[in-house]
Symmetry: C2
Subunit: 305 residues, 2 copies
C-alpha cells in the first residue's frame, strides 16, 4: 500500500508541523500507512517545541507528484499547500480555517471545526478512536494550541481550546504557563533573520474584494527593538509589492506579552488600512489589543476594502 | 438568537430529507436553535418513509436571504443548494460527497466522510455527543441508508453503513430487509409522473472536462414498463438539452431488485457514453451490474470525456 503523506501549509508554524506529527501518530496506531512531511523550514518557536519534547522534524518535501495520496492538516487552500496539490489525491483534511479554493474529485474525510487550533480537533479524534495520548504527543499538541492562541490570550481561543490545554498539560506533566511563555519567547528571537525572512515567516495572501494583498505577522516581546529595522523591512515589503503587483501589504509586529501590535502598511491601497484602523504615520500605526490576523485584522480590512 | 436552517440538496432524496430532520433533532437536544427545511418536493420513497414513521415533512423554502445562518446536509456544491446560498452564512456541513464549488468566508464545522450515506455519519455524531437515538429517528436514519445503498447492494456501501443499518434496525425494532424492500418499491411507483418529472426526480449537473452534462436516475422494479415511455422521456430530455445547451444527457433507469440499469443517452457527445460503456442502439443500452451514478457512471464518463 502506498504511503500517504500528511502535511500542513507552507511557511509552517507550530500547529502545522505538530498537526502532521500528531495525526501521523494517530493514524499509524489505527493501522494506516502514513508519513508526516513539511512544506518549508520551521520557525524558532517550532524548533524549541520539538527540541523540548525530543521529536524529529518531519521530512521536507518539494511539491507532490500527480496521484500522490495526501492528507492536509491546518489548511485547505491550494495556494497555501504543496506545489502540485491540484493533481494529488486528497484523502483527508483536518483544519480550523474557512474552506476556500479547495476541491476534490472524490468523497473524502473532511474534519473542520471553528476552534483556535487544529490540535484541539485532533485531541477529539484521539478520543473518538479510543487511542491513548502519550506524554510526547500531548506536549506537541499543547505547544500547538499555546502557539495558535498565544497562551489562550488570542480572541481566536475557544472554550474547547482552553479545556484541551489543561487536559494536555496534565498528560504531558508540565506547567503550561511557564512552558508556553518560554516557547513563545523562543519564537520571538528574530535577530538573525533578514528582513526578507521576517516578512515571510508567517505571511498569507488574501483578497480584499478585487485588491491583492498580503498580511504578514511576527511575534515579539519587544516592539521597539523590531522597529529599529523598519527601513529594511519596508524595503523588503516594497520589493514583494512590486514583484507581485500587490495593492496592500500589512506587516503586523505583535507583542505577545502585552497583547498589542505595531503595523507597517505599504502599497497604493493603504487607505483601506486607514479606514479599517487608524491614520498611518510614516507608514506605521499602533493597534492596541490586536493580536489575531484571522479575527482582528483580515475581517476588518475586508469590511473596509 | 436567530434560527439556523438545516437543509439538503434540490431534488431531495430520502437521505437529504432525513438528514435535515435527524440533525435538527440532534442539535436541538444540544440546545441549538435550528429548523429542518427542504429545497423541493419529496419523492414517493421519502413520503413512504416519513409516513411509516409518522414524521412530518420539513418546511419547503424558496431560497435563502443574505446573511441567513444555514447548515448543509448531504451536499456542499452551491449549484445543488438553495438559491442565494452564496450570500448565506454557512455554519456547518455534514456530507458524504466530494467537495466542489463550495467556499465560506469564515471557519465552520465541516464533517465529511467517504461513506455511503450522510446518516451513517450522523449516527457517529449522536454517539460522540452522547445523545440517545429514539425509535423514530432510528427509523429515518435506517431509511436513508437503505435508500442510498439500495439495501446495502450498491458499491457505494461501506462496512460502516452496513454496521449502522444493523444497529439502527435494532433500535427501530424493525426487520430492515422487509421494510427496506417495501420502501424502495414505494419509490419505484413512477406511473403518475410526467416525463419531465421523471428526468428531474434525481438529476445532477456534472462537468465532463469542458462538456456540460446531466445524469438523471430513477429506481424501478420493472425496466420494460419504464421503457414503454421511452419516446416521451427522450422528448423531455431533448428539451432540457436544447434549453441548457447540454452536450450529454444520460438517464439511468435502475432495477433495484436485480441491480442493473438501462440507460438512455442523448446529446451531441453520446460518443463519450459509448466509449465509457457500450454502443447505443436507438439511444439506449443495458448496463449489467450498474446501480451507482457516483461510483459506476460519473467517473467512467469522466475518464472517457
Amino acid at each position: 500500500m502506498e504511503e500517504v503523506l500528511i502535511f500542513g501549509h507552507k511557511s509552517p508554524d507550530t500547529d502545522t508541523i505538530c498537526s502532521a506529527i500528531v495525526l501521523e501518530n494517530l493514524l499509524k496506531k489505527l493501522g494506516q500507512n502514513v508519513k508526516a512531511a513539511r512544506n518549508g523550514e520551521p520557525n524558532k518557536e517550532t524548533k524549541f517545541a520539538l527540541n523540548y519534547f525530543n521529536v524529529e522534524l518531519p521530512e521536507l518535501i518539494n511539491g507532490v507528484e500527480e496521484g500522490q495520496e495526501v492528507i492536509l492538516v491546518d489548511h485547505n487552500e491550494f495556494s497555501q499547500s504543496a506545489d502540485g496539490i491540484e493533481n494529488a489525491k486528497i484523502k483527508m483534511v483536518v483544519d480550523h480555517h474557512r474552506v476556500h479554493e479547495f476541491e476534490t474529485a472524490d468523497p473524502l474525510y473532511y474534519r473542520a471545526e471553528p476552534v483556535g487550533c487544529t490540535n484541539t480537533i485532533l485531541l477529539k479524534m484521539y478520543k473518538e478512536n479510543g487511542v491513548e495520548i502519550d506524554k510526547t504527543i500531548a506536549g506537541l499538541m499543547l505547544s500547538a494550541i499555546i502557539s495558535d492562541t498565544l497562551l489562550l490570550k488570542s480572541p481566536t481561543k475557544t472554550a474547547e481550546d482552553e479545556k484541551a490545554v489543561k487536559e494536555l498539560a496534565k498528560i504531558a506533566g508540565i506547567d503550561y504557563e511557564a512552558y508556553g511563555l518560554e516557547m513563545l519567547k523562543a519564537g520571538t528571537d528574530l535577530s538573525d533573520y533578514s528582513a526578507e525572512e521576517l516578512i515571510n515567516l508567517d505571511c498569507k495572501k488574501c483578497e480584499l474584494k478585487d485588491k491583492k494583498s498580503r498580511i504578514a505577522q511576527v511575534n515579539t516581546a519587544d516592539i521597539p527593538e523590531m522597529m529599529t529595522r523598519k527601513a529594511e523591512i519596508e524595503a523588503a515589503m516594497q520589493k514583494v509589492i512590486d514583484e507581485e503587483g500587490l495593492d496592500l501589504f500589512v506587516f503586523a509586529i505583535t507583542d505577545i506579552i502585552n497583547s498589542n501590535s505595531q503595523a507597517i502598511a505599504l502599497g497604493k491601497e493603504t487607505a483601506i488600512f486607514e479606514r479599517a484602523f487608524t491614520t498611518l504615520e510614516d507608514n506605521t500605526a499602533f493597534l492596541p489589543g490586536v493580536v489575531s490576523r484571522k479575527k482582528q485584522i483580515l475581517p476588518v480590512l475586508q469590511e473596509n476594502a
